[in-house]
């Protein structure tokens, strides 16, 4: 390995990048866009559920029930409808997600201390949303029932019965339950894969397609030197992207790392090395930019998004896919990010993931060197 030769290749690749202004621009702009989108616009949290009511009861009691519903942070009462036909339409057209039908004689039955039904219709098409909405409305009704119970005991002049068990729920690691706190760190993993693997997946294939591989073969250049030189410019771009992402997460969105910053930089560097090795290997194997591009999306970007515990929990997947997630580098990196950002873990708790990523980087690079030597380099 000669440093001078690596530097020469790196400089050439760097000029390539600079000259192709758009690739460079996109390499910086996509990460910026992602962070802004996820920080400001995208959230999985559910509040202000658009709700419509069909009130056949029309009493002060039912009006009060609706007012309380609207006042709660979970629901947003967007309108009273005359009948259930209008309700069908509101749900079909996506105007409302939750509909409540109060039957005639509802409050009279309740005043007479009789149980009385309340019809609730929920748009289940988005299950993440519907699951939460269902439990919000259940606990809202439970609270109303508690009020009715206390009222009953007061009227009877009896002591109300204590609730036997009171759960004190404490949320750890993400105390405010904001999806931003796990999504913004996760974005780092996606950015690194895009910059590290998708951009580099084209660089060796380009040499093959342009016929410049012949020139490289005739040079006194070893495969390892070629790969190192090709990877270096992208490594620095990736690192800059990560720093920008981390800073923006912290300054704009208050997503603060709980563990050490140095450890984060180390983790990102190792993961970046994995991404670069993977991208370059794809490039060597496919030898065509079009195929490399497809393969890079399939092998790097999509698995990091889908098979990494980022938004979609691994535990829900079929067993075969769960096993595949062990092969996805992003799984280990997301685990590290989760540890560093949310759990405040140190190296002691995270070293297995570090070790796996390190081994992956070295292994992929070694395979690539052997492949390229086989090509006569």
């Amino acid at each position: 390995m000669s440093i001078v030769k690596i530097k020469a290749v790196a400089r050439k690749e760097f000029y390539h990048l600079i000259r192709d202004f758009r690739s460079l621009y996109l390499a910086f702009f996509i990460p910026l866009l992602l962070i802004l989108l996820f920080g400001y616009a995208l959230s999985l949290d559910v509040d202000n559920i658009p709700t419509v009511v069909v009130d056949h009861d029309r009493t002060a009691f039912s009006a009060d029930f609706c007012r309380k519903l609207d006042a709660s942070a979970s629901f947003d009462l967007i309108g009273h409808l005359p009948d259930t036909a209008a309700l069908d339409q509101a749900l079909d057209a996506n105007n409302a997600k939750l509909a409540i039908v109060i039957p005639p004689g509802w409050s009279a039955a309740l005043k007479a201390d009789r149980p009385s039904p309340l019809q609730v219709i929920l748009d289940g098409s988005d299950p993440n949303f519907a699951g939460l909405a269902r439990s919000y409305i259940t606990s809202f009704v439970a609270a109303a029932n508690r009020r009715l119970q206390i009222d009953y005991f007061n009227r009877q002049g009896r002591e109300p019965i204590n609730v036997p068990v009171d759960a004190r729920i404490r949320v750890w690691f993400n105390e405010d339950l904001e999806s931003r706190n796990f999504i913004v760190p996760g974005i780092i993993a996606i950015i690194i894969m895009i910059v590290g693997a998708m951009l580099t997946s084209l660089v060796i294939a380009r040499e093959f397609e342009n016929g410049t591989m012949e020139t490289l073969r005739s040079l006194p250049l070893d495969a390892a030197e070629l790969l190192a030189g090709k990877a270096i410019p992208y490594f620095f771009i990736g690192l800059i992207d990560v720093l920008v992402a981390v800073l923006m997460g912290q300054v704009l969105f208050g997503v603060v790392i709980k563990s050490s910053f140095a450890l984060l930089v180390l983790a990102c560097s190792i993961y970046l090395a994995v991404a670069l090795s993977l991208g370059l290997l794809i490039s060597t194997v496919t030898k065509s930019q079009l195929v490399a591009n497809q393969a890079a999306i399939l092998v790097t970007y999509l698995p990091s998004l889908l098979l990494s515990n980022f938004v979609f929990p691994i535990i829900n997947m079929p067993t075969i896919l769960q096993k595949i997630t062990y092969l996805v580098p992003a799984t280990y990196f997301i685990d590290i990010l989760n540890g560093l950002y949310l759990r405040g873990l140190g190296f002691g708790g995270l070293w297995p993931s570090f070790a796996v990523l390190g081994a992956m980087a070295l292994g992929l690079a070694a395979v690539n060197v052997i492949k390229l030597r086989g090509e006569g380099l």
Partner: protein, 374 residues
Amino acid sequence: MVCWLRVRELVRKEFIQLFRDKKNRPLLIIAPLVQLILFGYVVTTDVRDIRIGLCDQSRTPQSRSFIQAMAASPTFTVTHRVDHPVQIDDLMIRRKVDMAIQIPPDFAATVQKGHTAKVLILVDGSMSNMAAVRIAHTMTAIERFNVSLVRQRLAQHLQFAEIDARIRTWYNPNLDSSHFYVPAIVAFLIMLLSLLLTSMAIIREKEAGTMEQLIVTPLTPLELILGKTIPFILIVEAQIIVVSALAVAWFGIPFKGSVVLLFAASCLFLLSTLGIGLFISTVSSTQQQAMMTTFFFAMPFFMLSGFVFPIANMPVVVQWLTHLNPLSHFLIIIRGVFLKGTGIGVLWPQFAELLVLGMVVFAGAVRLFRKRMD
């Protein structure tokens, strides 16, 4: 004027070129199917199998009946039992459990005296949406336990008012997340395929230098565009049929609406995506550039479509932006057609917006392409 004979010949050339390259075959035929099956399994946000770490310091029949009431729900599984609260912290930090329940030593005594016993519940909040559902499940289970205990304690003849909420879930009664995501995946795959195919097809001619040859032929720019896009319209429409059939056959996704409507919507949708593909190929000169630019469009389209992240949660300004996103309209249509069986009476605003968007984008792309050609 368009000479259809010339267009037909170009379409034929394009088909031959596409299928002659062996590397393209898996890309065109197998990849969308594999992706659908894979994504269909992966993309779920269901909350199942909540792993619970339990620290029962009471060890009484009362505490055991409480645990039983919790474990009665199939979503909860007690995976770890520990003796000391400190061990619970360890389980939580090492991500061995999603939730931990700590029952205090005086639990049984407090409950028997008719006071309120406090149970500590720790929840891993790192995935906030999942955590919120877990908390909700826990509250429901505890509520159920409380109600049954209070009923036991009360004399039988007491009858007081109670609102009995009968919750019915429409469109997806079992809250099966595949019903929500699989139709969306169909739409997303179609978008990706049509964007990539069009942009790459023209760039390839540019890179290989054969674009010059096409320009000196009597083909007009419009004929060239038609010849380049018609094959992809046919391929993508065929893909929609195959992929939708697979969604129904493999994942059991209900298809309640009309096939014709879906077909019409996809044609309008393709107008936009092919226009964007054409635009990308006009402004790019290498495949790397085209790929990056495609990505640049596809990613925000995906994020701002309501695919995973609800549009209603976005800031108002961003919600306006989603109207410029063809995928967001197409998702409403495809989900409506699959799950709700909605017709044109309800979906016409989406159709109208798709049509306008598609015409503007396609016309703009054609204009730009013509200008570059001259």
